[in-house]
């Protein structure tokens, strides 16, 4: 699996290769406080959302993981949308409440425990059921689980890959575009584009 040297994006953000507007957007994510007090979900539901996010995006390689739950809590509190919703789905707030409740119902049906009390392997087993559309639980009568899983996954993927450190992870440096790109063909790099390393190299 290719990987890229650490610090690439952090370093670029300090240069004038990045516009002020771009730097402001990315630094806000880099500098987000480690602790977040939920404002939409109650403490238990928020802990459940964090636990789900930690299995969708496991980050054993990071000392401080990229937190995906705060963005979801903030968005639901603000009530903002992305322009559309599956007609088969209830409004986003209800969808998350029903869906997270449904994940707990599935955990209890399979393992007689709440999702947050399960070990990682069992949590993954519950999410596998959800991904396959086979999670047990009464909430799923009101909520199509394949659509809920898709929507939650897409929102978490957006939150993760919008983060500068996740962009660094995949070798994306498109934010450093002030001079534009001249070397754009196959296997062509500009100096500021990081070279990928083989697995094992630092």
């Amino acid at each position: 699996m290719p990987h890229y040297p650490e610090g690439t994006v952090r370093t670029l953000l300090q240069t004038d290769l990045v516009t002020p507007a771009t730097r402001a957007a990315l630094n806000a994510r880099l500098d987000a406080p480690a602790h977040y007090e939920p404002q939409f979900f109650d403490a238990d539901t928020y802990a459940l959302l964090r636990a789900v996010a930690a299995r969708i995006f496991p980050q054993p390689d990071r000392e401080i993981p990229i937190e995906l739950a705060p963005g979801i809590d903030k968005r639901l509190l603000a009530g903002t949308a992305d322009g559309w919703r599956y007609d088969a789905m209830p409004p986003d707030r209800e969808a998350y409440r029903l869906g997270l409740g449904g994940i707990n119902q599935a955990a209890e049906a399979q393992f007689n425990q709440l999702f947050v009390e399960l070990d990682a392997a069992k949590q993954d087993a519950v999410l596998e059921l959800l991904a396959a559309g086979k999670a047990p639980g009464e909430n799923w009568v009101q909520l199509p689980q394949n659509r809920f899983f898709e929507e939650m996954l897409a929102e978490m993927a957006e939150g993760y890959y919008a983060h500068p450190l996740a962009q660094e992870e995949i070798g994306y440096v498109g934010m450093a575009d002030v001079p534009g790109w001249q070397r754009i063909g196959l296997n062509e790099h500009e100096e500021r584009e990081p070279e990928e390393r083989a697995a094992g190299d630092k």
């Binding site: 516009t19 939409f40 969708i56 707030r93 070798g171």
Partner: protein, 558 residues
């Protein structure tokens, strides 16, 4: 709707279920504070300037902006109302997908049917410049045959006029906007005029597609794009700088190199005295006893404002245009408003390559093939074009997980190959069908207006086209050396819903774009398209816009 008890479970701030949007919450809070009863609200004094303008244009995208300039240049007093804000791309645009979400029409629409269409960033813009602020800048011309599907296939409908009515406008637009493209055009070599600028350079995905198509005997060419391959003089604005291959067209160009309306037709219109009012959301279209439009009412910065006009041009796109007509019970006698909603089959095929691609660089749609415009082995009506695609990481990740449902370590592992990923897609014709339509739902939005619900199910013709295209694109990517190839069935662009035709019995507007029911109402955007065309719609919307203005101006002289 679930009951109250269930709603409150697990949350700190239970809310009224139908009220999710921040704007509506603040509106409600305001009205609670003033405790104004509803009856009083309705009779509250409305700012009512007596000044009447010649024309009001609703919407400043590809449908509204060109005609706004044309009308202003003819000496008319014109006002454009744009629902979204005016921003300065040079200072306010970030090269960051999430920060640029303000470019999209993010009010919620409900997507129904077997193939629910994604809106927002997929196809719907807002702000001074409309959806051209985020269009990819693909500007292929429609083909002669696209306008006569019924004649050629016995399916779909013909346009009420032929290519000769659009050709002059295509030529004018290509030169005014500064389109970069190949001359001669391989699939239409007898054009009278070539493109004013050479094509943009090819990125990695375009080179891979070029290489593979050559092996397979599929002809390709650098595509026509509304982004400048060299500095270009723009009437009404001055010099526009060349594209620097930022690859960020779909989330906003900060250089003015892409020909969005805010750097082309809108400054031109303003230089001739047109007034553009941003943040102006139209809610009402007022009429007199004879049914003529007398003015519009809009919300701007918390105020309700009326603007009187002699003529109205509705250019709000194929969702908001029919929504306004339905909300105002206007131009409905044909029964066609909201009907025949179409969306282009836009299937993508992705693969992973040995080569280093870095898909964030270069114009996203660098390479095109129109060999599939009328494929010899087709079992469907119409056809499609093929394009290479570049992609930004968040867009790629979110589309990929929706299709592949990867999560956990496999998701992170797959995304680590981002720099080795390249895609191709199609843009195909779509036949109008009675099952695909827009309606107003019972659910309300932030303004208390019904949300639109759009039904879309790919019918037999679209399904056959998708199968044909997926097979070909997989062959191309295999020939290019791709591994882990996967297809993403998607539908792009919002078309139909207020169709143009020869008779008020089956169309909302006539061949000049004027409503059959309302003599001083014109509609010009993708909603009037009788059929979807097998090319990206922006250039044709702009051509229709100029043509609509010319037809209207000619009617004033008679």
């Amino acid at each position: 709707m679930p009951d109250e008890e269930l709603l409150e479970e697990g949350v700190l701030n239970p809310v009224q279920p139908e009220i999710q949007d921040p704007l509506l919450k603040s509106l409600l809070a305001e009205s609670e504070a003033t405790a104004a009863p509803t009856e009083q609200e309705q009779t509250a004094p409305l700012s009512d300037p007596t000044d009447e303008v010649d024309c009001v244009v609703i919407g400043t995208g590809a449908g509204g902006a060109p005609l706004l300039a044309r009308l202003a240049m003819a000496g008319l007093k014109v006002v454009a109302l744009e629902a979204g804000p005016r921003r300065d791309p040079k200072t306010e645009y970030a090269t960051d997908e999430k920060a640029q979400n303000f470019l999209f029409w993010n009010d919620e629409r409900l997507s129904a049917g077997q193939n629910p269409v994604a809106f927002g960033k997929n196809n719907s813009g807002t702000g001074v410049g409309g959806s051209t602020l985020h269009y990819t800048a693909y500007t292929p011309r429609a083909h002669r045959g696209d306008l006569q599907l019924f004649t050629d296939f016995g399916q779909g409908v013909d346009w009420p006029f032929g290519m000769e009515e659009l050709e002059l406008y295509y030529e004018e637009l290509e030169h005014f906007l500064g389109i970069s493209g190949p001359t001669p055009y391989p699939w239409d070599p007898t054009r009278r005029k070539g493109y004013p600028l050479a094509p943009l350079p090819l990125n990695g995905a375009a080179q891979l597609m070029q290489r593979a198509c050559q092996q397979l005997g599929v002809q390709t060419s650098p595509a026509a794009n509304a982004a400048l391959s060299a500095r270009y003089y723009q009437e009404g604005i001055g010099w526009r700088e060349a594209c620097t291959n930022r690859g960020f067209c779909q989330a906003g160009c900060n250089r003015g190199a892409k020909a969005s309306m805010d750097v082309t037709f809108l400054p031109l219109a303003e230089s001739y005295g047109a007034e553009i009012r941003a943040d102006a959301f139209v809610t009402e279209i007022e009429r007199d006893a004879q049914g003529r439009v007398t003015g519009v009412v809009y919300e701007q910065h918390g105020q309700t404002v009326r603007q009187r006009c002699r003529h109205l041009f509705l250019c709000a796109g194929a969702v908001e245009t029919p929504r306004l007509l339905l909300l105002n019970e206007l131009a409905l006698t044909s029964g066609q408003v909201g009907k025949h909603f179409m969306a282009h089959p836009g299937m993508q095929v992705w693969g992973t390559f040995e080569e280093d691609i870095r898909p964030y660089k270069g114009i996203p749609g660098g390479l095109i093939s129109e060999d599939t415009h009328r494929p010899k082995d087709a079992d469907f009506a119409g056809g499609y074009l093929l394009q290479s695609i570049g992609v930004m990481p968040v867009t790629f990740a979110t589309q990929m997980v929706r299709q592949r449902k990867l999560w956990g370590q496999p998701l992170r592992d797959y995304m680590r190959q981002y720099n080795h990923v390249a895609g191709i897609n199609i843009l195909g014709d779509c036949l109008p069908h009675a099952d695909n339509f827009l309606e107003l739902s019972d659910e309300k939005d932030a303004r208390g207006l019904p949300k639109p619900r759009l039904h879309f199910t790919a019918q037999e013709n679209e399904q056959r086209m998708n199968r044909h295209a997926e097979k070909l694109m997989r062959q191309i990517w295999e020939a290019a050396g791709a591994k882990d190839i996967w297809a993403f069935e998607r539908y792009a662009h919002v078309i139909g819903t207020a169709r143009m035709g020869l008779s008020g019995d089956d169309a909302v507007v006539n061949a000049d774009g004027r409503a059959f029911d309302v003599p001083n109402l014109y509609i010009c955007d993708n909603s009037v398209f009788p059929s979807a065309l097998s090319v990206n719609p922006a250039l044709t919307i702009m051509a229709l816009s100029l043509r609509t203005a010319d037809k209207f101006l000619a009617s004033l002289r008679t």
